[in-house]
Symmetry: C2
Subunit: 333 residues, 2 copies
């Protein structure tokens, strides 16, 4: 568990894209964010107040979160200086970078001296069990994509936010580094040892109230040969009651696999349902989430209507249309 609230470290990000992790945290967990810390030359802005380390600490911030991608596979001297100073003030550090904080001698030494915790959220810290497959109480929803990076996390966060707005019992369950930084906890599933993947998902989504929904962050795709094993473990460890199909309509091939075409939503539905029923015979495909970022309003509406007619399932872009109709579908289960 990462201590909140956060000060978001944007470093010297050259643009907003480089700070998308910070943006995700500011968008989805605004109550946990005190402000942003920008170094000279920073071109990103996630729309929260600029603050010095000391100022944010005095307002309650307890973890400085690296919300920006680094360049060139190294953590720069300029960054290290800020991160070190933060620990000396009293902050913990959290990061989802491939370069681990703990591998930087100066950060390790400072944390030992100051008592700060270094959270490298790409690295599992729990000895997960082997999955036992036992039916758990409460309900679970999982988005399954035609490809990687089609909006599964966004869909789960939007559905969770909509449920909270309606006063329903609901928790977002993070399985990737951005999600973990947003919520302060979770499982970095892609870094878990093969035998324990499904058990890690069971651990993440334990017994709960009968009317409580876990929104489990999806990973990979059953049709993406590099990561399909991770997706499989999510389905069998998560034993979802409700499955949302997630899609990005402008992809010309599977992400990173130029020789692989995207499956149709029908092919995805037909593959995922028998797989999901192994772990939960009551599993249903209940809706479709389309990432229509590349389309106009008119094109987006037309596409969603067309898919809805084809599949007979509520179809929306949660960013453009809100997640209300998907939540309606879950509430009807």
């Amino acid at each position: 568990m990462i201590r909140t609230p956060y000060l978001l470290f944007l470093g010297d990000a050259p643009d907003n894209l480089a700070a998308k992790v910070a943006q995700g945290i500011a968008d989805w967990n605004p109550d946990a964010v005190v402000g942003q810390f920008r170094m000279e030359g920073c071109k990103a802005d996630v729309g929260v107040p600029d603050m010095s380390l000391q100022e944010a600490y005095d307002k309650g911030a307890r973890t400085l979160v690296v919300g920006v991608a680094n360049r060139g596979g190294v953590i720069s001297e300029a960054w290290l200086k800020v991160l070190t100073e933060a620990m000396e003030i009293g902050y913990d550090l959290a990061s989802g970078l491939h370069n681990l904080l703990r591998d930087e001698d100066v950060l390790k030494a400072t944390s030992a001296r100051s008592g700060a915790t270094l959270h490298d959220v790409r690295v599992p810290t729990v000895a997960y069990p082997i999955a036992n497959g036992k039916k758990r109480t409460g309900k679970r929803c999982l988005a399954i994509g035609t490809d990687c990076s089609v909006g599964k996390m966004y869909t789960a966060l939007a559905m969770n936010a909509e449920m909270e707005k309606r006063g329903m019992k609901s928790t977002f369950r993070a399985t990737g580094q951005t999600g973990i930084l947003v919520t302060g906890r979770g499982v970095p599933l892609d870094a878990v040892i093969a035998d324990f993947m499904a058990g890690a998902v069971e651990w993440l989504t334990p017994d709960n109230d009968a009317d409580h929904w876990d929104h489990i962050e999806g990973q990979g795709s059953l049709f993406h040969v590099s990561y399909s094993g991770v997706t499989m473990a999510l389905i069998h460890g998560g034993q979802p009651d409700a499955i949302i199909l997630a899609h990005e309509p402008t992809r010309t091939h599977m992400r990173g696999l130029p020789d692989y075409d995207l499956p149709s939503l029908e092919a995805l539905r037909d593959m995922v349902l028998p797989i999901a029923k192994v772990a939960n015979p009551d599993a249903q495909v209940v809706g479709v989430s389309v990432n229509t970022k590349a389309l106009s309003d008119e094109e987006a509406t037309k596409l969603c209507e067309e898919i809805e007619a084809r599949l007979g399932l509520p179809t929306i872009d949660p960013f453009r249309h809100g997640a209300g109709r998907l939540v309606d579908a879950l509430a009807a289960i």
Copy 2:
């Protein structure tokens, strides 16, 4: 790569079952076995000559392989004495035990002094790549089980042996500790980090001659919720041309999962084929391997005939009937 030939260490095994790893090596790679080393009180015998450490070394043995399960989660003092002495003579050590050789101070110290290599085959030693999904040359066969531990490794080894007997080009590709000890190399797939599982299988089964067959050792089951992600990675990393369905007909529930029924062979076939076609559009289910150990000859023959009629696929128990008809099916592709 583990140096051959081997001397098989049977320790103080209370029965043959405890020495089944040694038996597997003696059965499937007899040319690599010089003899067996049995301590006082050993009740196992894998049918190869008894030898002292020095005698076997003089006959060429270069690795002492722990072919026996340990008891109580520790490596006993009596074992450590033999293993240490072996390294002093000039042996390397190899083991698939959960207790790692490298975690024993005396073994680590002796190996440092003698120059012996400690092979803990449960632990990956290679930085596997992320799978790229590129079509590889050569052909691949994978057995997929209705459950775990239904005879997938045995089936692959039997098919490989039959192909070698016929002078066909063929390699057994180990993905578990017994298989790795049998062949001296392989990938301990259940211990690989999630993101690299499929890439490890690609690494294990590289480009080959067009008429060469890799027989990839299967793991888990698509219907076993604890390990299905590993099975998925084997299918998508292995991109098999030929799939064998493997089955044990007397199971009353999935191994270790009392609430889970076994799937029918038809359900397995219908699930695996669309999954396999993602990575290899030419994938075919070509035969069925039944572990009939618990049945009489007559019952076994009747069951195989019944399955063959139902599925329209050659159906045999490779132990009882030989793997010839499965190899015929592959040769016809």
